[in-house]
């Protein structure tokens, strides 16, 4: 088990190096892509700015706090695109061409190999915007979080990665079972989009759901609450939910892999 994880981390490192080399081959396009991504990631904070300057905003948040939320959200979106942005492209490519069968005879688990092939340097644009906006919000809020708050925020990001790995695993399962998933990814993206707003805007039942069964609140709401020092004990269920989603998705993946009949060629 430990050897497997060490091997997969090495594999991730090698894939990362290859991805960076590939991006550097088209430097101009890469730079334009990063600049556009920074610009694009500015639209959501701009919208929030408009909401909070032209109206009273949402309950429980002021402009500076919502900027912290947006900064952390951008950080998370950048992190997930950087870490796993390529997974679905690789999965589609392998399954359609029949190359997925090769993964089955490799020494590492096929799911691990797929998740380790996701590095995408284009996520760096959102990461930069997220860092800048979070820093700006910290300055505006005059926020000096203690080590416990920082640790909690980091832990929620770690849980977010586990949750997203679970989501990716479910999508990869769909790809190996259906081959052509069409706009299913878009549907999942829309569902994940519920986590792009503070959960206070949703009815109580949905708030509970986003902190338990579908713990999307973990990727921006929970860390921002932690840094603002107003994290409730009920938010701990979100962390448990992340690991539960990942465990269930791996179980579904393993069952589906047993029924896999190959495709492409």
């Amino acid at each position: 088990m430990t050897a497997n994880i060490t091997g997969l981390l090495k594999l991730y490192y090698w894939n990362m190096k290859l991805s960076v080399s590939r991006s550097m081959a088209y430097r101009f396009d890469f730079v334009i892509g990063v600049l556009t991504s920074i610009l694009f990631s500015g639209t959501a904070p701009f919208l929030q700015y408009i909401f909070f300057t032209q109206t009273k905003g949402y309950p429980g948040w002021n402009l500076d706090q919502i900027m912290l939320f947006q900064g952390l959200l951008l950080l998370w979106l950048g992190l997930r695109q950087t870490l796993f942005g390529n997974v679905m492209n690789v999965a589609h490519g392998l399954v359609r061409k029949g190359d997925f069968d090769r993964l089955l005879v490799k020494p590492y688990p096929p799911l691990g190999v797929l998740l380790c092939s996701g590095f995408n340097l284009k996520g760096i644009g959102s990461l930069i915007s997220g860092c800048v906006l979070t820093g700006y919000a910290f300055a505006r809020l005059d926020l000096v979080p203690g080590p416990a708050e920082v640790l909690l925020a980091l832990a929620s990001f770690a849980c977010s990665i586990v949750l997203y790995m679970g989501v990716m695993t479910l999508l990869c399962t769909m790809v190996i079972m259906l081959v052509q998933v069409g706009r299913l990814e878009e549907l999942v993206e829309r569902l994940l989009g519920f986590g792009d707003y503070p959960i206070n805007i949703y009815p109580k039942l949905l708030q509970k759901l986003f902190l338990t069964v579908f713990p999307f609140a973990i990727w921006a709401y929970v860390p921002s609450q932690a840094l603002l020092d107003r994290l409730g004990s009920d938010n701990a269920t979100a962390a448990v939910g992340c690991f539960a989603v990942f465990a269930i998705s791996v179980w579904i993946w393993n069952r589906s892999l047993n029924r896999y009949t190959s495709a492409g060629g």
Binding site: Y26, F28, D29, I32, G33, L35, T36, L39, F40, T43, F46, L47, I50, F51, Q54, T55, K56, G57, Y58, P59, Q180, G182, R183, L184, E186, L187, R190, L191, G193, F194, Y197, N200, I201, Y202, P203, L206
Partner: protein, 266 residues
């Protein structure tokens, strides 16, 4: 003849991926649901019936209107034109008996007819069941369809111009994304322009983007400012002016660019 064949082919392609179509119908209500929660929360927190001249129902339907406008205007002309130029396939198209501009326009129209029939109509029914539009009348819907057709032409011309930049830039994906963001931001494709500060609204007045999103959605919402025939006619005329300007610009730039075009590959 080509136009009818293009429509037929697009419907066949659409039907071939029925699952995608069903998923697309399932996707759009999620956008509406998020916006219902978002605006309900904002309106409740503000304790007011109207914000910037919009009621809760109008704000929710404004976001639905954005989805509808996208269904009417979406096309890939910019990607197709730049692909022809970069791959050298343009030389093959130049030999065809139909002008590439009209070929692309017919293809885009065919694509949108399918989209309107199989996405706009079901979406409008589903959305209306979720959140009934108390402002909508048959006449305002008809007026909306007309301005959306004009928006489609305008968006097609913008896309065509972006596609032509491949003559000079080769890879124009960055520029394309930039225009896409600007169009959303400055055209009312994210939020009504009335929420913007006055200076930004003034900037938007000088750009064609508000005639793609903002005004068609105002017509859809049957807002007082555009409900009379006179004001509706003014919008259509302004759209027409931008379309004529865009068409002339496309034509002139094409003439200049095609003289310097050199095909490699294909």
């Amino acid at each position: 003849m080509f136009f009818l064949k293009a429509v037929q082919t697009n419907i066949k392609q659409f039907m071939q991926y029925r699952n995608s179509f069903l998923i697309s119908i399932a996707i759009h209500p999620f956008i509406l649901l998020v916006n219902i929660f978002l605006y309900r929360s904002i309106f409740a927190h503000n304790g007011t019936e109207e914000i910037k001249g919009y009621t809760l129902s109008e704000m929710i339907w404004y976001t639905a209107g954005i989805t509808f406008v996208w269904i009417f205007i979406w096309n890939f002309a910019e990607r197709r034109i730049s692909d022809y130029i970069v791959t050298g396939d343009l030389s093959i198209h130049l030999l065809k008996p139909i002008n590439i501009f009209w070929f692309e326009l017919y293809s885009a129209v065919a694509l949108r007819i399918t989209g309107i029939l199989l996405e706009f109509v079901p979406d409008l029914i589903i959305y209306s069941l979720i959140y009934p539009p108390d402002f909508l009348t048959a006449l305002s819907l008809l007026k909306f369809v007309v301005v959306c057709i004009m928006s489609f032409c305008l968006f097609f011309l913008i896309n065509y111009l972006i596609g032509m930049t491949a003559f000079a830039l080769k890879s124009n994906s960055g520029l394309n994304e930039f225009v896409y963001i600007s169009m959303n931001l400055l055209g009312g494709g994210l939020i009504p322009l009335d929420f913007y500060p006055a200076w930004l609204q003034r900037v938007c007045d000088f750009l064609p983007f508000k005639y793609i999103f903002y005004y068609p959605i105002q017509v859809f919402l049957n807002k007082d400012s555009v409900s009379s025939w006179g004001s509706w006619g003014e919008i259509v005329l302004a759209q027409l002016a931008w379309i004529i300007g865009g068409f002339v610009l496309c034509h002139l730039l094409w003439k200049v660019a095609i003289r310097k075009f050199c095909a490699v590959g294909g």
